[in-house]
C-alpha cells in the first residue's frame, strides 16, 4: 500500500483504534484514557494537516475495498471532503478537552469516550466517502454511535429524546438507502465526481431522477434538520453538553448538510440539477427552515433548546448557498459549513459552562452571569454576534457571500430571507447578552457547582475551548483573505466544481 492509500485509513484509525481500546478500559484508569483520547485527537490533527497539504498541492489520496462484487467501500480525500475533515478534526480536539473537564467524576466515561471516538470516525468516513454507498455506511454508523451518547444519562427523558432521534434518523436512512440503491441500479455505480454522474442518463430518466433526488435529500435532510424533518434536534438536547456541541456543530447536522452538498454537486451536478428544476425547491425549503428555526428560537426559555432551534436555522444557510446556482453562493454555503461549526460549538461550550458552574439552564436565569463568568460570557457574546452576522465575525463573511450569491443567481428574495433571519437572530440573542451583562447578579445561583477562585471562573478545561473557538470566530473573519482560511479553501472547491465557469 502506498502512502496515498494509507493516509486516509490512518485518519480513520486515529480515532477508531483509541475508541475501541477505551471501551475496554476500566472506569478508574483516568490517566490512560485521557492520554489515549488526546493522543488520538492530536495524531488525527497532524494527519489531517499532512493530507491537507497534499490535497492543496493537487495530490490524490484514496483507497478502495471490494465489499461485494461491483460494490466498493471507497475513501478519497478531495478538496470538499477536506473542508469538513479539517473542521471536524480541530473541533474534535477542543471537544475532547472540554469533555474531559466536563465529565470529571461522572460515571461511564469509558463508554462515553468510546462512542465519542466512534462518532468522529464515522464523521471522517462521511467526509472521505468516495461514493454514495460508502457515504451511507458511515452515515448510519454515525446514527448508531450517537444514540448511546444522546441517552448517556439513562433517564426517562434521555430515553425519550433518544427514541425520537432514532425514529427520525432511521426512517430518513431508509429513504436515503432507497434512493441510493435505485441510483445504483440505474447507473451501475454511485461514485462522486465533479460535475455529477446523473447527467449520463438520458432524458427519459428525468422523472425517476427527480424522485431519487427527493429521496436522497429527504434522507440527508433529516440530519441537516430541514423543516419539517427537524423535530429530533431540540429533543436531542437532553444529551450532555459536549455531545450537543459535537452533534450540533460538527457531526450529525453537518453530515446532513455535507450530504446535500455532495448530492447536488457530485451526484447530480449543479448544472444538471438546475436543468431538472431541482434547485429552486431546495432553496425554498432552506429558506423556510431558516425563518422557521429562528422564529421558534424566540420562544425557547431553555438555553440549549434556543441554541438548537438556532442550529436548525443556521445549518440551512448551507443548503441555501448550495441551491443558489452559481459559484458565489456555493462559496457562501461552504464557508458557512465551517463558520457555523466554530460559532455554534462556542455557544454550546458556554451553555455547558453555565450549567456546570452555576446550574443555569434557562435564559431567564442568566441575569448577571456576565459578571460572575466574564470570559465565558465574552466567548458567548462573540459566538452570538457571529450568528447575527455582526461585522468582524465569521458570520458576516458567510452572510456577505451568500447575499452576493443570491444577487448573482437572480434570487433577490433570498436576500430578504437572510435579513429576516439576522433580525430574528438578534431578537433571540441580544436579550441573553443584555441579561448576562447588564442585569444585577442574583442573590444565589440555581446550583453553584464550581466556586470562583480569583480569575478562574470555572474549570480551565471548560474555559479554554470556548475561548479558543471564539478567537477563531474572529480570526476567520479578520484574516478571511489570507491564503489558508476556510474562505480560501471554499473558493478552491468552487473553482473545481464549476468546471469551465468563471469563479471569483
Amino acid at each position: 500500500m502506498t502512502t496515498n492509500e494509507l493516509l486516509p485509513l490512518a485518519v480513520l484509525a486515529s480515532s477508531l483504534l483509541p475508541g475501541l481500546v477505551i471501551f475496554t478500559l476500566p472506569e478508574s484508569w483516568i490517566a490512560v484514557r485521557t492520554t489515549l483520547n488526546l493522543f488520538g485527537a492530536v495524531a488525527k490533527l497532524g494527519l489531517v494537516f499532512l493530507l491537507l497539504a497534499g490535497v492543496h498541492a493537487g495530490g490524490s489520496y484514496g483507497v478502495r475495498f471490494e465489499v461485494l462484487p461491483g460494490l466498493d467501500l471507497a475513501l478519497k480525500a478531495d478538496a470538499l471532503g477536506m473542508l469538513f475533515i479539517t473542521l471536524s478534526a480541530i473541533l474534535w480536539l477542543f471537544t475532547t478537552l472540554y469533555a474531559i473537564g466536563y465529565l470529571e467524576g461522572a460515571p461511564h466515561r469509558s463508554r462515553f469516550f468510546g462512542f465519542f471516538s466512534l462518532c468522529v470516525t464515522a464523521t471522517m468516513g462521511i467526509a472521505m466517502a468516495a461514493n454514495l454507498f460508502t457515504f451511507f455506511v458511515f452515515y448510519e454508523l454515525l446514527t448508531l454511535s450517537t444514540f448511546p451518547l444522546v441517552v448517556h444519562r439513562g433517564t426517562d427523558k434521555a430515553m425519550k429524546g433518544g427514541t425520537i432521534y432514532l425514529a427520525y434518523t432511521l426512517i430518513g436512512g431508509t429513504a436515503l438507502l432507497t434512493g441510493i440503491v435505485w441510483l445504483h441500479h440505474l447507473i451501475g455505480h454511485t461514485e462522486f465526481a465533479h460535475g455529477g454522474i446523473a447527467s449520463a442518463l438520458g432524458g427519459e430518466y428525468a422523472g425517476q431522477l427527480k424522485i431519487i433526488f427527493l429521496l436522497l435529500i429527504a434522507g440527508v435532510g433529516v440530519k441537516a434538520a430541514l423543516v419539517p424533518l427537524h423535530g429530533w434536534l431540540p429533543q436531542a438536547m437532553v444529551a450532555p453538553a459536549p455531545v450537543s456541541a459535537l452533534l450540533h456543530a460538527v457531526a450529525v447536522v453537518k453530515a446532513g448538510a455535507f450530504g446535500i452538498v455532495r448530492i447536488v454537486y457530485e451526484v447530480y451536478g449543479v448544472e444538471f440539477a438546475q436543468s431538472l428544476n431541482l434547485l429552486l425547491p431546495l432553496a425554498i425549503i432552506a429558506a423556510v427552515t431558516i425563518v422557521w428555526g429562528s422564529f421558534r428560537a424566540l420562544f425557547q426559555d431553555d438555553l440549549k433548546k434556543r441554541l438548537a432551534f438556532s442550529t436548525v436555522s443556521q445549518v440551512s444557510y448551507i443548503a441555501l448557498g448550495v441551491a443558489l446556482f452559481g459559484p458565489i453562493g456555493t462559496i457562501g454555503g461552504l464557508v458557512h459549513l465551517v463558520h457555523q461549526g466554530i460559532m455554534k460549538i462556542t455557544l454550546f461550550f458556554c451553555a455547558g459552562n453555565y450549567a456546570e458552574t452555576l446550574g443555569i439552564h434557562k435564559v431567564s436565569e442568566m441575569d448577571g452571569a456576565g459578571r460572575r463568568m466574564p470570559l465565558t460570557t465574552l466567548a458567548f457574546s462573540i459566538g452570538a454576534l457571529g450568528m447575527m452576522g455582526a461585522p468582524l465575525t465569521a458570520g458576516a463573511v458567510s452572510k456577505a457571500w451568500l447575499m452576493d450569491g443570491a444577487t448573482a443567481a437572480g434570487m433577490d428574495w433570498a436576500i430578504w430571507v437572510l435579513w429576516t433571519s439576522s433580525l430574528l437572530n438578534a431578537a433571540y440573542f441580544l436579550p441573553i447578552l443584555w441579561r448576562a451583562w447588564f442585569r444585577p447578579v442574583p442573590a444565589a445561583w440555581p446550583e453553584e457547582h464550581i466556586p470562583q477562585r480569583g480569575l478562574r471562573e470555572t474549570a480551565w478545561l471548560l474555559l479554554l475551548p470556548p475561548l479558543l473557538t471564539a478567537a477563531m470566530t474572529l480570526a476567520t473573519a479578520l484574516f478571511a483573505d489570507a491564503a489558508i482560511t476556510p474562505l480560501a479553501w471554499a473558493r478552491l472547491i468552487a473553482a473545481r466544481e464549476y468546471v469551465g465557469l468563471e469563479t471569483p
Binding site: L68, R111, V137, F147, T155, T163, T178, V181, H185
Partner: protein, 493 residues
C-alpha cells in the same frame, strides 16, 4: 477423487458422530472439550473444502449440469443408483462453513453455560453432535431419500435438545415441535415416494433433466408436498406456531443452535429443489412463498415488538427474519437474488446465534427473563450488550453488517426486475426490526431502579460474554468483506 485419505466431506459427518458417541460414553454432562476440539477440526475442514470448491468449481462445471458439483464422493465406492452419493457445490460448501462457524463458538458458550449437574445440560453434547452430523450430512447429500434421513436425524436431535430442559413448558413445546417436524418430514417423504414412483430415481442429478413443466399431476403434487413439508419445518408464516415456544423456551445455547442453523437446513432444501430437480415446477409458487414471507416479516416483527419475555422476542424475530429468505423466490432469475438469500442466511445465522447467546447471559446474570428486567444491564454487562447491539445491527440491516449487504442485494434484485413491492417490504422490515431491537437496548440503557439490583448481578464467566460477542462481531465483519463468500456461491454452479 484426487486424495482418498483427505475427504473433508466424509470427515465432516464422521467427526461429529464420533465426538457425540464419545460424549455419550463419558457420561452425563461430559465431553465438552472433545466437542470443542472436534468442532475446531470441522471448521478447518469446512474451510479447506470451501477453498477447494471455490478454486476448482468453475473448471469442473459442465454446460449440461447447471448445478454440477465440484467435489463428490461415493460412499464405500458404490455410486448411484445403488450407493450413497455425496456432493458439494458452492452453496453446500457455504452452508457447511456457516454450520461449523456457528457451532464452534456456541460449544465454547455451552461449556460455560451448563454447569456440572445442570439437568438441562446432561445430554447436550451427544445431542449436539448428532444434530451437527445430521446438518452436515444434509448439506452434502445428493439424493432426495438420503436427505429425508438426515432431515429426520436433525429434527429428532433438535426436539430432544428442546425437551432436555425438562420443565413442563419445555416438554409441551418439544411435543409441539415434534409434531411439526414429523408432519413436515412425512410430507416430504411422501413427495419423494411419489417422485420415485414416477421416475424410478431419487438422485438429484438424475432427476434434473427428467422433470419438466408438463410433468404428470402426480409430480406436481409431489413437489407441493415436499415444499409444504419443508415450509412447516422452516416455520414460514403461518406454519410458525411451533417456533416461538420451542426456541423461546429452550436453554440459550439450544435456542441459538435451532434459530441459527436448524431452520436454515429446511430452507436450504427448498432452495436446492428450486434450483435443482424441481426447477421447472416450483417457480409457479414463487409469489405465494414471497407473500407468506412478507406476512412473516410483519407478523413476526409485530409479535416481537409486543413480546414480554426477552427470548420470546428473539424467537419472533427469527420468524420475521426467515420471511426475508422467502422474498427472494420471485427474483431468482437474477443472480443477485441467490446471493442475497445466502448472505441473509449467514447474517441471520451468526447474528441470531450471537443474540440468543447474549440474551442467555443477561437472563443468567439478572435472574429475570423479561425485557423490563433489563434496566441497567449496560453497566453490568457491557460486552454482552455490545454483542446484542452488533447482532441487532445485522438484523436491522444497518451498515456495515452482513444483514445490510443482504438487504442491499435483495433491493437491487427487486428493482432490477421491477418488483417494487419486495423492496418496500424489505425496507419496512428493517425499520420494524429497529423497533424491537432498540426496545431491548433502550431498556438496558435505562438507569436501574433503586434497590432492584441491590442483590447485584450474578457474575458470569467471561467465556459466555465473549463467545456471544464473537458471533455478533462476525456477523458485522462479514458485512465488510462479502466478496469471497459471493464468489464461492458461483463456484460449482
Amino acid at each position: 477423487m484426487s486424495d482418498p485419505a483427505f475427504q473433508p466431506l466424509v470427515w465432516l459427518i464422521l467427526l461429529p458422530l464420533g465426538w457425540s458417541t464419545l460424549a455419550f460414553a463419558l457420561g452425563p454432562g461430559r465431553g465438552a472439550w472433545t466437542a470443542i476440539a472436534g468442532l475446531a477440526t470441522q471448521l478447518w475442514l469446512a474451510f479447506m473444502l470451501a477453498v477447494k470448491v471455490g478454486a476448482g468449481g468453475t473448471a469442473h462445471a459442465g454446460p449440461d449440469s447447471p448445478m454440477g458439483t465440484a467435489v463428490t464422493h461415493q460412499v464405500g465406492g458404490w455410486g448411484a443408483p445403488l450407493g450413497i452419493d455425496l456432493a458439494v457445490d458452492g452453496l453446500s460448501a457455504a452452508m457447511l462453513l456457516l454450520t461449523q462457524s456457528v457451532a464452534l463458538p456456541l460449544a465454547v458458550y455451552a461449556r460455560s453455560y451448563f454447569k456440572t449437574g445442570d439437568p438441562a445440560g446432561v445430554w447436550f453434547w451427544p445431542l449436539m453432535g448428532f444434530l451437527i452430523a445430521g446438518l452436515n450430512a444434509l448439506f452434502v447429500s445428493a439424493d432426495l431419500f438420503n436427505i429425508y434421513v438426515t432431515l429426520e436425524l436433525v429434527g429428532l436431535a433438535a426436539v430432544a435438545l428442546v425437551a432436555a430442559g425438562g420443565g413442563a413448558q419445555q416438554v409441551a413445546a418439544a411435543l409441539r415441535y415434534l409434531f411439526a417436524t414429523l408432519v413436515g418430514s412425512g410430507a416430504y417423504l411422501l413427495g419423494v415416494a411419489l417422485l420415485y414412483g414416477t421416475y424410478g430415481t431419487v438422485s438429484i442429478a438424475t432427476l434434473m433433466p427428467l422433470v419438466s413443466a408438463d410433468a404428470p399431476r402426480l409430480v406436481w403434487i409431489a413437489g407441493g408436498l415436499m415444499v409444504a413439508g419443508l415450509m412447516l419445518k422452516t416455520a414460514l408464516f403461518p406454519f410458525h406456531f411451533w417456533l416461538p415456544p420451542a426456541h423461546g423456551g429452550a436453554p440459550a445455547p439450544v435456542s441459538a443452535l435451532l434459530s441459527a442453523l436448524v431452520v436454515k437446513a429446511s430452507f436450504y432444501l427448498i432452495l436446492r429443489l428450486w434450483l435443482g430437480p424441481l426447477q421447472a415446477l416450483l417457480p409457479a409458487f414463487a409469489w405465494l412463498l414471497a407473500a407468506l414471507g412478507a406476512a412473516a416479516i410483519f407478523w413476526g416483527s409485530w409479535q416481537a415488538i409486543h413480546a414480554v419475555k426477552l427470548k420470546r422476542l428473539i424467537a419472533y424475530s427469527t420468524v420475521a427474519q426467515l420471511g426475508y429468505l422467502f422474498l427472494i423466490f420471485p427474483l431468482l432469475t437474477h443472480p443477485a437474488a441467490l446471493k442475497a438469500g445466502v448472505m441473509q442466511i449467514f447474517a441471520h445465522g451468526l447474528a441470531k446465534a450471537g443474540m440468543f447467546a447474549a440474551a442467555g447471559v443477561m437472563i443468567k446474570a439478572t435472574g429475570q427473563d423479561t425485557v423490563a428486567g433489563l434496566a441497567g444491564t449496560v453497566e453490568r454487562l457491557p460486552v454482552t450488550l455490545f454483542a446484542f447491539g452488533l447482532a441487532g445491527m445485522t438484523l436491522m440491516g444497518l451498515p456495515p453488517s452482513s444483514g445490510f449487504l443482504a438487504k442491499w442485494q435483495i433491493i437491487e434484485a427487486a428493482l432490477a426486475q421491477g418488483h417494487w413491492i419486495i423492496a418496500v417490504v424489505a425496507l419496512a422490515g428493517g425499520l420494524l426490526a429497529a423497533v424491537y431491537v432498540f426496545r431491548v437496548l433502550r431498556q438496558a440503557f435505562l438507569l436501574a431502579p433503586e434497590g432492584a439490583m441491590a442483590g447485584g448481578v450474578a457474575a458470569v464467566p467471561r467465556a459466555l460474554e465473549w463467545s456471544a460477542f464473537a458471533l455478533a462481531a462476525a456477523s458485522v465483519v462479514l458485512g465488510l468483506r462479502g466478496v469471497e463468500l459471493m464468489q464461492l456461491l458461483g463456484a460449482g454452479a
